[in-house]
């Protein structure tokens, strides 16, 4: 069966520091991958999605970037964190043949201080 791993679970970082969040999927090949951010009390906002290695689409302008160095690995990065980058970050995947059904990781709570 397929599983999705996301780490770390929580992270506290100072303003101006770099960021790297990692997401990996097991048990499937060539998945679509997604990064979402959830602000407190709100729904999820799609940040990036990828349909293949090296293929990244950005949905909103921001201080973050994403990369997909391997088929089942998706990384969210920042060179210098801002206070406004705080939030709950979730990675998701969907199968190519069932692209509309997304499955989510456990998320990373990021606090930028």
């Amino acid at each position: 069966s397929q599983t999705i791993h996301q780490w770390p679970a929580t992270l506290v970082q100072p303003v101006g520091s770099p960021l790297s969040l990692e997401c990996t999927v097991e048990g499937t090949s060539n998945p679509n991958l997604y990064w979402y951010r959830q602000a407190a009390g709100r729904g999820l906002q799609l940040l990036f999605y990828s349909v293949g290695i090296g293929q990244i689409s950005s949905e909103v302008p921001q201080n973050l970037s994403a990369s997909r160095p391997q088929d089942r690995q998706f990384i969210l990065s920042s060179k210098k964190l801002l206070l406004s980058d705080s939030g709950f970050y979730l990675c998701a995947w969907s199968a190519i043949i069932a692209k509309n059904i997304q499955y989510f990781g456990a998320g990373t709570r990021l606090s930028v201080l």
């Binding site: 679509n32 997604y34 979402y36 009390g41 709100r42 729904g43 999820l44 906002q45 799609l46 999605y49 990828s50 349909v51 689409s57 949905e59 709950f88 979730l90 969907s94 190519i96 692209k99 509309n100 059904i101 997304q102 499955y103 989510f104 456990a106 998320g107 709570r109």
Partner: protein, 112 residues
């Protein structure tokens, strides 16, 4: 982009009560999912239901795509049903990715 509106924003029930959560969306979609976010933040898939009706135990969902709404029914609610329920919709006819727009959710509290 598509607008998604969920109602009510908050709902408090006694254990055993039934409830109906609503999701309205502003444009035609071919992708609709209902999720339950537990207190630890994990999003749990409930239904993939771009149209029609589905049931899974005490939960059922109906989507009337032509009228642009979906309903989630919870019967005989339990305290473990507490959390936030999200509706997510998308239009993916012209893309390989199943991009979704989320509503702001309904926060359900079930009291013992």
């Amino acid at each position: 982009g598509i607008q998604v509106e969920q109602s009510p924003p908050d709902l408090i029930l006694q254990e055993g009560a039934n409830s109906t959560l609503r999701c309205n969306f502003s444009d035609s979609v071919n992708n609709l999912q209902w999720f339950h976010q537990n207190p630890w933040g994990q999003l749990i898939n409930l239904f993939y239901i771009p149209s029609g009706t589905k049931q899974n135990g005490r939960l059922s969902a109906t989507t009337v795509a032509t009228e642009r709404y979906s309903l989630l029914y919870i019967s005989s609610s339990q305290t473990t049903d507490s959390g936030v329920y999200f509706c997510a919709v998308g239009r993916s006819w012209d893309t390989n990715a199943g991009k979704s727009t989320f509503g702001d959710g309904t926060t359900l509290t079930v009291k013992p």
